[in-house]
């Protein structure tokens, strides 16, 4: 087992454990903290793939900013412990097996497709390559993201505004 695979296994196990805990925790804050574990392990996985910039963004934006938003929402709603509701029969007896089947099928096909796939030539995508690609070839989508942010701004204001109580 190469060190890469060992590190990958540890990080992947952390990510999966975090995700499972995120769903099973009954208190929203605990779920949010589990999510941080997922985010950080994902950042580690990106680092393992050689995507340093993406790993940094993952920590700064997801692990930092997005988590702040999550915690704010939890505090905003003053959410206490969740109550478990009875999941509908349909969801339990049809949805869950179908979901599991789907997951296994996807996993099977990916495993089959990649098992005899030649390992990609060792290519480390440096931040410089990424920048060149982003700001030369992908200028158009890059500028478009600013409009995407504008839409989000409008949405935040439209949905979160508070009317004057007059």
């Amino acid at each position: 087992m190469t060190p890469q695979i060992a590190v990958f296994l540890v990080l992947a196990a952390m990510a999966v454990a975090g995700a499972v805990s995120l769903i099973l925790q009954r208190h929203p804050i605990h779920s949010a903290l589990s999510l941080i574990v997922v985010m950080v392990s994902l950042a580690g996985l990106y680092l393992l793939l050689g995507a340093e910039f993406i790993a940094a963004v993952q920590i700064i934006v997801y692990g930092g900013a997005i988590m702040v938003l999550f915690v704010f929402v939890i505090m905003l709603l003053n959410a206490g412990e969740e109550e478990r509701t009875n999941v509908s029969r349909m969801a339990r007896f049809v949805g869950v097996p179908l979901g599991v089947m789907f997951l296994l099928e996807v996993a099977y096909w990916i495993a089959r497709a990649t098992s005899h796939l030649a390992p990609p030539a060792a290519q480390l995508v440096s931040t410089r390559d990424l920048s060149t690609l982003l700001f030369r070839e992908y200028v158009f989508p890059f500028e478009l993201t600013s409009f995407l942010i504008l839409i989000a701004l409008l949405g935040a204001l439209v949905l979160a505004r508070r009317e004057d109580s007059d």
Partner: protein, 484 residues
Amino acid sequence: MSLPLQDLCRVAPEIVLCAFAMLVMLLAPIVPRARHGILSTISVLGAGIALAATRFPAMYPGAAYSGLFRADAFSLFVHWIVCGAAFLVILGSTSYLQREDLDAGEFCALILLATAGMGIMAGAQELLTAFIGLEMSSIASYILASYKRDAPRSNEAGMKYFLLGSFATAFFLYGIALFFGASGSTRLDMMTPLANDSARTLLKMGLGFIFVGLAFKVAAAPFHLWAPDVYEGAPAPVTALLSTGPKAATFALALRILADVGAASPLWFWALWVAAVLSMFAGNLAALVQTSLKRMLAYSSVAHAGYILVALATAAATDHAEAGIAAALFYLVGYALVQLGAFLIVAQLGGPGERHVEIEDFAGVARRQPAMAACLSLFLLSLLGLPVTVGFLGKFYVFNAALESNLIWLAILLGLNSVIAAYYYLRVIVAMYMLREPEQEIAAEPVPWTLSLVLWIASMGTVYIGLFPARVIGFAAKAALNMR
């Protein structure tokens, strides 16, 4: 590297839309609320200028921005649909916004930005660009669906749309990742022959995921369950937009993938076949039992997505791809005109707060508001596919294309479904013309001139294209030929 002027020309409609959206955003906080009509006027102007600006990509067809975007007859055609839809929706919703006391600025800016996103989907040659376009239109749609913040139903609609929509987006994105893994590029037009079987498997999976994401966005069965709730809960003018623009853009993207990616046709054919049949039946059978007109129209729009999917299946059956693509494009034009008109009438006749949208509330509308009743009847008849209207020709071309590619079963099921649909469309017309008015009088509100203008354009278009389809179908055929 320089920015050639031609590249800018090729995305001129998007530039106009985004510029006007920004102008509206700048003016919205400054203009006093009483005069928000100005913002609607500017936005209508913006959509109109964007429509006119399609001249530029028409003059300089070709790939722009290192091939990520492509201005050709096909994208031009879709641009007309989405810009036209935005123009009509903004114009038709001015009085609605005033009546419901909603801010016009954000509403119009969101519609303009969403339309820009749809335009990008229509011309995207690369999956990430298409994805950003899709997100622009989707995120704006989520916000617009819950725009009426004090109405719980509107909030519910926005929430449902957002949750399920993000799920579909995740599918789409995962599909892009697998596509990239297989071919080493997200470009649609530069597919290199795949190296081996494993890459082919990955590509198939990627295309499968992309299909699910797109099928959700057009509300095709079995991914349609969100549509009735969202269409019913969202403000009616927003529903008018949701059921036309984004659908046209998403179908355009699907067609583009079908045309560019060789592996997509054989893989998608059966998926399209099944989705088409399911959508037609699910939409029409559910529409039969609805009591709310808005909900009925929502289910009928699922059925219409099914009819368009028949055209897509025809395009995927390889031999007569051009006929299928042209039929889909023509159908989208007619469908957009009619659907817009119908939902805007519902917005008007529903009265303040859209309280009267049950079918029984429409009893006796013919006596109260004859012009509106006549327009709505025309639109419903076009949805039904009566000759002389554009709806008939749309179905005719799809039917023809299906027969030519030997998809006899699809053609038969399409005909059968049109017959089923007749029942519920006619039921509304019967209610309007033959039933007695409900006990408590529903006040007949005067129809604002903006709405009259929109309805006039829509109904004239319905009849005119229904009588003289040559130019539209001619252009659609040209657009289809241009793609291959």
